[in-house]
């Protein structure tokens, strides 16, 4: 099986001598798989996501994403790798308030050197797909939470990444908006997008994920596959 993510004995300690916040953990995520990571607060979910995204480095072990050892990449190479292979959707959206919706979405494409027009075309395509095209020139502050999260997801997908990481994507949304995002993620998964979804929401995990792992105190305690995914 072709793994997009491979973790080998990964551990992360924030203080040298204490117990690890995560791991040791060995895990593989296959291409096209939608993995939900669940667990209580402090279980290491966000740490796992940060390690996979290359936002943080493991204390021990190796992290391989799309065939590259991200734990060994320099900051510069990591940034280049991330924008080409990984899209991230955040709980609090993390949109840039100074930029319009379309400018927020096409920013990662422009960082790779894609021309302004080509990036705008791809952004338009995504906005249409996500139903936010009417807000293209609005500023994030004027959008609802659900709309902002769609903008965040569109931004994460602009460079057609192999891997989409979603950190509590419905955590800051009301129920209706949360359902909208859930449907969107499910659609993306059906389209073959590999997703790692960190969430407290077991219903969201069940609705979107083909596989769920459960962490407690940084350790993997449960690894289950959805019935239709087996």
């Amino acid at each position: 099986m072709n793994h997009v993510i491979e973790l080998e004995g990964v551990a992360k300690r924030y203080d040298g001598a204490g117990a690890p916040a995560l791991g040791p953990l060995t895990l593989g995520v296959a291409e096209g798989e939608a993995l939900a990571v669940t667990g209580p607060s402090g279980s290491g979910k966000s740490t796992l996501l940060n390690l996979v995204a290359g936002l943080d480095r493991p204390t021990d072990g190796t992290v391989t994403v799309a065939g590259r050892r991200v734990d060994r990449l320099s900051e510069h190479a990591l940034a280049r790798f991330r924008r080409a292979h990984i899209g991230i959707a955040f709980q609090f959206f993390n949109l840039l308030d100074d930029l319009t919706v379309i400018d927020n979405i096409r920013l990662p494409a422009q960082l790779t050197g894609t021309g302004r027009r080509a990036a705008a075309a791809r952004a338009g395509e995504l906005m249409e797909m996500l139903g936010i095209q009417q807000h293209a020139h609005a500023y994030p502050g004027r959008l609802s939470g659900g709309e902002r999260q769609r903008v965040g997801i569109a931004r994460a997908l602009i460079n057609r990444p192999e891997l989409l990481l979603a950190d509590e994507p419905t955590g800051a949304l009301d129920t209706a908006a949360g359902h909208g995002v859930r449907d969107l993620l499910r659609e993306l998964h059906r389209g073959g997008q590999t997703i790692v979804l960190v969430t407290h929401d077991l219903a969201l995990a069940e609705a979107c994920a083909s596989r769920t792992i459960h962490l407690v105190d940084g350790r993997l305690v449960l690894d289950t596959y959805a019935r239709d995914a087996r």
């Binding site: 940034a79 993390n94 308030d97 930029l99 400018d103 960082l111 050197g113």
Partner: protein, 817 residues
Amino acid sequence: MSVFGGGAPARVARSGAGRQRVRTVVIAVATMMAVASAVVAGTLMVVAAAPFDHAFDKQRGAHLTARFDPARAGAARLAETGRLDGVTASAGPYPSTTIRPVGRSGFPLPALTLVGRSDPHGAVDRVELTSGRWARGAGEIVLGSSFEGPGVEIGAVLKASDTANAPALSVVGFARSSSGTADAWSTPAQIGPLAARGHPVTSQMLYRLESADTREQVLAGRAGIAAAVPSGALLGTQSWLDARHAAGRGAAATVPFVTAFGVLGIVMSVIIVSSVVSGAVGTGLRRIGILKAIGFTPGEVVRAYVAQALAPACVGIVAGVPLGNLLAVPMLADTESVYGTVSLTVAWWVDVAVPAAALLVVVLAALVPARRAGRLPTVEAIAVGRAPRTGRGRRAHRTLGRLPLPRPVTYGLATPFTHPVRALAMLLAVAFGTVATTFAVGLTSSLTAVGSSQDPESRAAVTVTTVRAPAAAPPPPPPVVGDDGPPSPAGGGEEPPSPAVSGGTAAGASRPAAADPAKVRSALASRAGVESYYGKLRTEVAVAGVSGAVRASLYEGDARDGHHALLSGHWITGRGQIVVPTRFLERTSTEVGDTVRLTYRERSADLRIVGESFDTSGNEPEVHADMADFPPARPDTFLVEVKPGVPAEEVARELAALVRPLGGDATTVPPAERGGVLLLMDALALLLTLLLVCVAGLGILNSVVLDTRERVHDLGVCKAIGMTPRQTVGLVLASVGALGVVGALLGVPAGYVLHGLVVPAMGRAVGTGMPAAVLDVYTPVGLLLLGLGGVVLALLGALVPAGWAAGTRAATALRTE
């Protein structure tokens, strides 16, 4: 008690100051620089005039000193001039002449204006005896206090001249005239017997005028007096303004530029302190909200934030006052030398007023943003970071985002528009830094031009002297009032011993034989490598109406190559002409076109003033005339130009081989040494510029640090979505680069204009205009480089926070609010 005071606001201020180290350092350094500059500027302004004015008032100094021909205007007629309109008091007539005494060891003193007065008192010019007593009878003389020293003390016996039967004069006292009416005094009855051939007795009248603040007013007074006596009776006059200029020339010249730096420093400090405190409020809103939520009153918040600025400012003030005093010391020393025993220190009130004013400025600068912090609603403050920002800068982001530049660059370019006030402070910091640099570069170039224009001999390729260098310098005479120091070695200040007079001094001092100038000329004519040459003699002459000796350069041949920079008129082209400096015109109340009488070795000549030379040598102006007007004069130096492609060293070697056997020498001209005051001004300009540039850099650093801290979350987002560290650095640098360009575009012209205002003011302070060579010192390329310097300054200030932004882990940045 500390400046923080006590209680909770004090603890908050202390922790704030400790937490924001960059901000604390910036306030301390900015204040220190402003205080130091202000202390120097204030001190120099006081020093430039006050001691002279005090001494002049105390002595009821003469606004105008006039010399008359007693044969044409008798004592009664002269006494009547004291009752003319505009004359408030007068003294005289006193008999006066010029003598050239010889010291015990045989060295000649400079030519001295000797005035016969029965006592030092009077309605005008109450001469101050600094030691000894006044002359009571024949054979007694009182010398100017500047002559007092190991070689000449009370009881010393001088000979009135170098002739064998010259009368002896016993020094009985030393005295000082702030108006500079004489170099020596004796009883009136002695003047006639002491007058030498060529130096007849004249009548000296001293006047105080109703209005004498400007040259024009003094000239008007002179005109009235001249009209009241028969034509030709008035031989010459001397204005008090000349003595005043001379007294404070060193300090006075530096006042305009130190003031400019002081004002720049103070304005920049105000901008930086207010921007720093304003930034502290802007970025500390959440903290302010929390403080208010836990019970701080608005007044306590204001106190806490003012104290955060005040504490480092006090440190800066405490450091700035001694630094300013230290920087003022060389200037004070220069001025002190003019007043002899008068000790000059930084005025106590300058040391009190400047720190007090600085404290007031800092409190006012901090109060505005601190009051904003106090007024901020708690909920609004605490919600910062969670609520969407104001819409400032969005249009700039949209517009600049369309530029065909990398996205991080366009994003960075739009950043300043989000915080216009902070951007303005940064812009002003760059602009002021560029102003200071542009001004300092111009000033240094002007000072260099002044230095080279004062030493035209350095333009010659080879210098041939009629005596060997070690023997060229005569025994040093005592300094004359306000003398800059010994005359330059090239001239020696004394005419060289011609073969005819060699070893002929009355005192019997032996002198080495000098080369015959005619033989030196033959040697020069025989060398193929010599393109042209002219002869020169630096000596002293007497000028009718001017007290004491006047330095003169007499030229033989075509001396155009060695001409001084001219402010008006033209260089001497032949006999009967003289070029004089501005100070000479003021001193003698003459203009270009007038005629003056010069006497050299008992040969007098009436010369027409054809040019006004640029001369900053203070109260020792040098006049330039044709040697042919004074037959006894012979050149002691030949300035030689070599043919193109011929090495000067080779010509010097060949000429040396020819003239050394004759007693002379030949060398290549060594580079001109900068004068003390010029060096001092260079050093001060460099130091003050460095301080200003450092403050500007720190101000930029602080602004960018604030900006980066505030945007750290956004930068974290950018990094999370793929912005590389290099692109992050590019973003941060672009955010200041544009400000750097605009700041440079403002700063370079402002610095240029400032130079155009200050340099002429410096010239006016020492009583001269400035020639084009001194004023037009900027080149287009130089100005472009100075502009680039402003951009570099901005980028350097932003480099550290840019590196910090690039190095921060995305995960860390995303956790930051």
